[in-house]
């Protein structure tokens, strides 16, 4: 008897009981449901929720694997084991098994905690509310480990995931009903609850926090650190990386968001699979470029001088803003979340443009929150239904006018 038939039997056995949603969920997660319709004509679409979610996860896997290599690379670079790869993508210093396993053992627990806690809560709610488990957490669970620092304590992640899934999603009625992107809710919770673990120059490099504690305890070691580019720019320092490094992703940052190259590839994959909205991705980039250009113009006009605390980020070339921080990742994987984004095409342009625009605005004017894209997307999530409302109303008005002209 194989697993499939066993699950069939279990499912039948528990049908109608309290635990039924849990068994159904396991079953639909692994196999196609065995229910068939008995009457009427039906259209079967291949792109159900499960397949959509899996496609997004596939687009993120390269980022995850790169993140593992990068975590090890940043660690070894910081302790002085290896030399900087200086922008060469196929450098033998970067793609080593040593690098990979340092990252692997650090990041796999993050993935497991994220899925374990998140899916556990989804199962629990499905059983209490007596509905089927939805696949909504599959993508969130993969996004979460990619947008946190590598050294985040696991219990903090667990608390944040529980908060994000319950308050960010389940209270609104579960998958498809949430106003805010759950993954970003989780990150925002971590950011405001435990700011020392979400910013600064230690948490981005594996082992840096531990090393600091050892030194404080009297160990004779050199301190290691790795500040993100946004972090150092916000303090008015020069970024220590070339633009090529930023594009390739050999920079400190959250686990999966450093490599702009792989994010663009993932984004193209989503666009061609017709799952991600190219309108949102494009208009976000456009919004960021416009805001970046405005700031560059202000600097060129001499309004802001080097003495200003905004100078560092304002004088950053507009195109570099697209490469640093989590902007690319947020735009491609989180702004395009079909539940929380605008639904109308015109609305998507406005929604995306404002995300890009506000991201750069927050980056520059609020050095306390070096990464603006998280807050920008959450803010626009709130406004997305309003944008849709006005787009639809505008369309209705236009058509009413046409009607009047005809009848008159």
């Amino acid at each position: 008897m194989n697993l499939k038939t066993r699950l069939h039997i279990l499912k039948r056995k528990y049908r109608g009981s309290k635990m039924a949603p849990a068994f159904n969920a396991l079953h639909t997660f692994l196999y196609l449901p065995d229910e068939i319709t008995h009457n009427g004509t039906h259209i079967k679409a291949a792109d159900d929720l499960k397949r959509t979610m899996n496609t997004v996860i596939m687009a993120m896997v390269p980022c995850l694997i790169f993140g593992m290599f990068n975590a090890g690379y940043q660690h070894n670079l910081a302790v002085g084991e290896i030399q900087s790869v200086a922008g060469s993508f196929f450098s033998s210093e970067f793609w080593t098994l040593d690098n990979f396993f340092i990252g692997f053992w650090k990041i796999i627990p993050l993935v497991l905690i994220s899925y374990g806690v998140g899916l556990g809560i989804e199962f629990l709610f499905a059983i209490i509310k007596k509905h089927e488990v939805e696949e909504g957490y599959l993508v969130t669970g993969m996004l979460v480990p990619l947008i946190v620092p590598v050294d985040i304590p696991l219990w903090m992640l667990a608390v944040a995931v529980a908060f994000g899934v319950v308050i960010g999603k389940e209270v609104f009625g579960g998958t498809g009903m949430n106003i805010l992107n759950p993954a970003l809710t989780i990150r925002a919770f971590l950011f405001f609850a435990y700011p020392t673990w979400m910013s600064g120059d230690k948490v981005w490099v594996e082992g840096a926090v531990e090393r600091t504690n050892e030194i404080a305890a009297g160990a004779n070691l050199d301190a290691i650190s790795g500040e993100t580019i946004l972090g150092s720019l916000a303090q008015g320092k020069e970024a220590a990386f070339s633009a090529w490094d930023m594009f390739m992703g050999f920079i400190p940052g959250s686990v999966g968001e450093t490599s702009t190259l792989l994010i663009i590839l993932g984004g193209l994959f989503l666009v061609f699979a017709k799952i991600g909205s190219w309108r949102i991705m494009l208009s976000s980039a456009l919004g960021a470029v416009v805001m970046g250009l405005i700031f560059n113009q202000i600097v060129d006009a001499g309004v802001i001088t080097e003495s200003s605390k905004f100078f560092g980020l304002m004088s950053t070339p507009f195109w570099e803003h697209l490469l640093i921080g989590g902007f690319a990742f947020g735009t491609v994987f989180m702004a395009t979340d079909p539940v929380t984004a605008s639904q109308t095409n015109k609305g998507k342009w406005i929604y995306g443009f404002l995300i890009g625009f506000i991201s750069i605005l927050i980056r520059v004017f609020n050095p306390a929150y070096p990464e603006g894209v998280m807050l920008a997307i959450l803010l626009m999530n709130v406004f997305a239904p309003t944008i849709d409302h006005y787009v639809v109303q505008g369309n209705v008005k236009k058509r009413m006018k046409r009607l009047k002209v005809k009848t008159a």
């Binding site: 304590p153 219990w155 308050i167 209270v171 405001f192 609850a193 435990y194 700011p195 020392t196």
Partner: protein
């Protein structure tokens, strides 16, 4: 019959649960969000509101037949303002530090919707004894939620209760902090107070289906 008849007892117990001013009527939210970061401040606020609402309800109830209805709001405001100033002065005299923590929010008891709400809805139509009970009951219901929210916010946000370090010392790394626990800074921000109040409402309504509206 004891001190309180059955109907009178209901005046006190109803606002504690099924007709709670914060969780059911959703009044007085502003102060519930603003001053609940510490348990001590929550308790003082609860007591202050209880004093103002209890005495205020009696005063309004005594005057209810002589207040011209056109200017009743102004009369009510004068009564609350007078009582709030007394409370404020007492706090300043006997616990200056605390009055600084509560700062403007003692003064803002005047604008607390619960107080004007009870004056309008109850004291203007009932005798002084029943009005007194109603005031105490509603203030207690308000204070109860304040204290629950303050308890969780101070415990999880600062790791203390009434200033005592119940979870250990975060700097010396004792107690829970020795195994890597850290205070949740989000708890000290007002949005989290709103979420805690929301969770209380959620729990209350899921236990009592009569409270669920469509």
């Amino acid at each position: 019959m004891g001190l309180l008849s059955k109907k009178d007892t209901k005046l006190i117990t109803d606002p504690l649960a099924d007709n709670n001013p914060i969780t059911i009527q959703v009044l007085g939210i502003c102060s519930a969000l603003a001053i609940t970061a510490q348990l001590k401040a929550s308790i003082v606020m609860a007591v202050s509101v209880m004093a103002v609402l209890g005495i205020g309800n009696v005063v309004i109830s005594l005057m209810r037949n002589i207040i011209p209805s056109k200017i009743r709001i102004i009369v009510q405001l004068v009564v609350v303002a007078a009582l709030v100033i007394i409370v404020d002065q007492v706090l300043k005299a006997y616990s200056y530090e605390l009055s600084k923590t509560l700062s403007v929010f003692v003064g803002l008891i005047i604008t607390n919707c619960i107080i004007m709400g009870r004056f309008e809805a109850f004291a203007l139509a009932n005798g002084p004894w029943r009005s007194f009970l109603d005031g105490i009951g509603n203030a207690a219901g308000y204070g109860l939620i304040l204290i629950i929210v303050g308890f969780f916010r101070e415990l999880l946000g600062s790791g203390t209760l009434l200033g005592f370090k119940v979870l250990g010392d975060p700097i010396e790394k004792t107690g829970l902090y020795a195994i890597g626990y850290e205070n949740n800074g989000f708890m000290l921000l007002s949005p989290m107070a709103l979420i805690v109040v929301g969770i209380i409402i959620w729990v209350q309504r899921s236990r009592n289906s009569a409270l669920i509206e469509d």
